[in-house]
Symmetry: C2
Subunit: 177 residues, 2 copies
Amino acid sequence: MNIVEFFQQSSGKWFSQRTNHSLTTEPSESGKSTIAVESIDKTDPEVLKLCEYYKLNPSLALCAVRVSWEHTTEWKGGKPSGSTVLVAFADSDQPNQGKLLRMSHDLAQTTLAGRYIIGADAALTLITEAETMYSEERLWFASPNLRLRTSLVKEADGSGIASFFSEIRMGVTKPAG
Amino acid sequence: MNIVEFFQQSSGKWFSQRTNHSLTTEPSESGKSTIAVESIDKTDPEVLKLCEYYKLNPSLALCAVRVSWEHTTEWKGGKPSGSTVLVAFADSDQPNQGKLLRMSHDLAQTTLAGRYIIGADAALTLITEAETMYSEERLWFASPNLRLRTSLVKEADGSGIASFFSEIRMGVTKPAG
């Protein structure tokens, strides 16, 4: 599995169940969303904007995807829908690792550059570090129609949230495999 | 990281937050538990019983632990507390993989033999297959005091449950690292 294949396998519409566990004292919260993942061209205006911002040549990108979501249950402090564009650049010496650029449209537009690693177990790990936060996301396919995802976000003040997403391909009543 | 070190790092008392996502239509459910993990001797009566059942020589075991839990919130269909003994035997040709024997005392006593794999990313994967179910568990340390765990249980009828546990070492108010 490489990141191009991982995103190809992610393409389509997904029903996503989400739970957030606070790492301090707040109660956990859950919600449901629908997610659509689509491959986009390296000439997509948002891809070009992201690459320009990080001074990377878009023609060298491995792949790009747009993830759009719509929360079907209430989501504290967030918009009911949003989208993120992801663009991957492999390291020249390590084909299974590289840079992952990200532009999100949620409450505001945010751009982030992180790292991706595809493990020997075909799981995709995404790591993003900023001045005040550290985020580690892990995504893997339990079967072609069931994708699992964990996310850990730690803030500089020691607080954090561990989240779990189970995502079932829509149009399939039960996950195969 | 090997499985002996993984269990050593797991030793102690943990506050565990748990969420189950049904893979069909049932609503998700959450709960809290306290978990205690302790290394036990290969001469522990339960270790001997398990090894005898699976016809394995206990002196060849890598390590054994007892995990005891107490649900502090309601847990549908389960006892409020229980324990499991785990015994690991490495494959002779692959030190990072092997057999994992398990004896649980919950509603009933159950014994299972599965496989363990320690990945290059220091995560522990446990796979158990029985006639009517397939279970894949994944455990990893986000920091020494924060352990994350996912579990996927698929039944023969196509139903299943994906669970997520975030476990914070007790006596530590905020996870380090």
